[in-house]
Amino acid sequence: MDTKEAVLDILNELTGEDLSEQMDENLFDNGLLDSMATVQMLLELQEKTGITAPVSEFNRDEWATPNKIIEKVESLRNE
């Protein structure tokens, strides 16, 4: 599964919305992701993409939109 698909799947499960048409929508601003949902997202990402989420350096702005999340996951994968 490619990163984009994995991220959108996880977000769909968490928010109940297909975000493929809203790749630059800020998920914190529109209320789709609160801190509890963010944690679940990170847990799922760890499980499904094998990344280790950098929880103590977590910066919301870097994870705010579907596109940003994909970018972040790919850069963590290549580390």
Binding site: T15, G16, E17, G31, D34, S35, V55, S56, F58
Partner: protein, 503 residues
């Protein structure tokens, strides 16, 4: 056994003024500070000539000043109403209307002007050598604090907790749990949420310490996981949801937190999965599941989750009632034999909702066999011997991330929106019986569909709702439906909507 909560805290302050009571991210305050500051608040409040016993609203976060003002209020003979400063201004005005509070203490700046009542700010409270007459202290059946919960018609309900209600709770927590001496507690829950009382008064009456993890920190994951590993305390108090969140931190285990010996959970169902995970991370810690509605003062049942309990039950028990309290099951309310509504009677049961005799009469009653009032919890449960088990709700109240929410309150505001013909908010449950998200199912008003895209509608509805309800009550997801299921009495069939959302 403690006899008086306020005097007990003052006695510790007099005997050991230098003992640390409050640790706010490294900023320390002692029992001596607490007495001095709360006396200053009490003296100032007494100067203001409020009507006797009128409640005082207190707006703020989780700072030391907040706790000092709580104690100042009760020392001056007034109950306090804690309101978290992340609430919206609507909630503040609504609580003022219901409570008729003649005064608000603005520990944090108020979001609106409140010209019609007195406003006190911390800089007007000057330290000095005040002696507060102990006869003025809140005691007995007088209200100590009033916590507002979600109501069904958009009007919040103020649960009145008296000094003696609180006393029964505190004595139980200090007796029936294996707490260390001078326990230090995690203080994570905002003070508007009665889970905070599980840390606050047991800590302060036992000469213990509160180690604060403020809301601003827990809301920001990066900050949370920078802060959490540095905090040291013996007793963890939180909702299960919050502990689950902390599992993400690889250093959240016994090796990194050897001082953490006890976990107290309340506010929502503790799942088997979460308890098991915690046991793995903290094999020697005592883990307690507790249960109780705000109306019965924080919690009234407890059970230690041991390996035996984990092996025996897939869905964990919620505990055995404290000695002074009776839990019974009203089986006329259940659908299965032996199951029914949980009814709680005892000295920690509230006298009812402030200025709301109708809702009070619907949930509380006094019978001849009992010295104390009884409260119908609305929870579905059953007893196995004296062990209580929880199986859900008999109405439309849910717990979401530990917050208690009346779905009908959200429905009320949703239906008021001109874009909406019918709107119902349904909880979507996961496999552990936990609410995972709130789903708003909406039938739009005529013509609305053609005017806006779905994204625009979601944005508008969310914006409008956020003016009236707390942020944690906002639905995560909106589904627009052409027709809602209608029940036999011609109303929207809420149960059917909930079924469909969870299908």
């Amino acid at each position: 056994m403690i006899k008086d909560v306020i005097k007990q805290i003052d006695q510790i302050a007099t005997a050991e003024p230098d003992r640390v009571a409050y640790d706010y991210l490294g900023e320390l305050n002692t029992y001596g500070d607490l007495k001095k500051r709360s006396d200053a608040y009490a003296a100032k409040i007494q100067e203001m000539n409020l009507p006797a016993k009128a409640p005082i609203m207190i707006w703020g976060g989780q700072t030391f000043e907040m706790v000092a003002s709580f104690l100042g209020a009760v020392k001056a003979g007034h109950a306090y109403i804690p309101i978290a400063s992340y609430s919206n201004s609507e909630r503040l005005t609504m609580i003022q209307e219901v409570s008729e509070a003649p005064m608000v203490i603005a520990i944090d700046p108020l979001p609106i002007k409140m010209d019609q009542i007195q406003v006190l700010t911390p800089d007007e409270v000057v330290d000095g050598n005040y002696t507060i007459n102990e006869k003025e202290f809140v005691d007995g059946n007088d209200n100590f604090y009033i916590i507002f919960t979600s109501g069904t018609t958009g009007k919040p309900k103020g649960v009145q907790i008296s000094h003696d209600n609180l006393l029964s709770f505190v004595n139980w927590e200090l007796t029936d749990f294996k707490l260390p001496e001078h326990p230090s507690f995690l203080a994570q829950a905002p003070y508007s949420f009665d889970l905070s009382v599980m840390s606050l008064y047991p800590a302060l009456t036992a000469g213990g310490k509160l180690v604060v993890l403020p809301h601003e920190v827990t809301e920001n994951i990066g900050k949370l996981f920078q802060t959490l590993p540095k905090l040291q305390f013996n007793v963890w108090v939180s909702t299960p949801s919050f502990a689950e969140m902390c599992f993400l931190d690889p250093t959240f285990d016994q090796a990194h937190h050897p001082e953490l010996t006890t976990f107290l959970f309340c506010g929502e169902e503790l799942s088997h999965k979460t308890a098991q995970m915690l046991k793995k991370k903290f094999p020697d810690a005592h883990i307690y599941n507790t249960y109780g509605p705000t109306e019965t003062t924080v919690a009234v049942t407890q059970v230690e989750i041991t390996d035996d309990i984990l092996n025996k039950y897939d869905r964990l028990p919620i505990g055995v009632a404290k000695d002074d309290t009776h839990v019974t099951i009203d089986t006329s309310k259940g659908e299965k034999a032996d199951q029914g509504e949980v009814v709680i009677s005892g000295p920690s049961v509230s006298k009812g909702y402030l200025n709301n005799p109708e809702k009070t009469a619907a949930a509380f009653y006094q019978d001849d066999q009992n010295d104390y009032p009884s409260y119908r919890a609305g929870d579905l449960g059953f007893l196995d011997g004296d062990m209580l088990f929880y199986r859900g709700r008999i109405d439309f109240q849910v717990k979401f991330n530990g917050y208690r929410i009346e779905l009908e309150e959200i429905n009320f505001y949703l239906a008021k929106n001109p874009l909406v013909r019918y709107g119902v908010v349904a909880p979507k449950y996961n496999a552990q019986h936990k609410v995972q998200q709130l789903v708003a199912v909406v039938e739009l008003a005529d013509g609305v569909r053609d005017k806006y895209s779905d994204e625009e509608l979601v944005k508008k509805l969310r914006e409008d709702l956020s003016k009236d309800i707390m942020p944690y009550m906002l639905p995560q997801r909106f589904i627009f439906q052409d027709e809602m299921p209608i029940s036999q009495n011609g109303k929207v069939d809420i149960k059917q909507v909930i079924k469909e959302v969870n299908a």
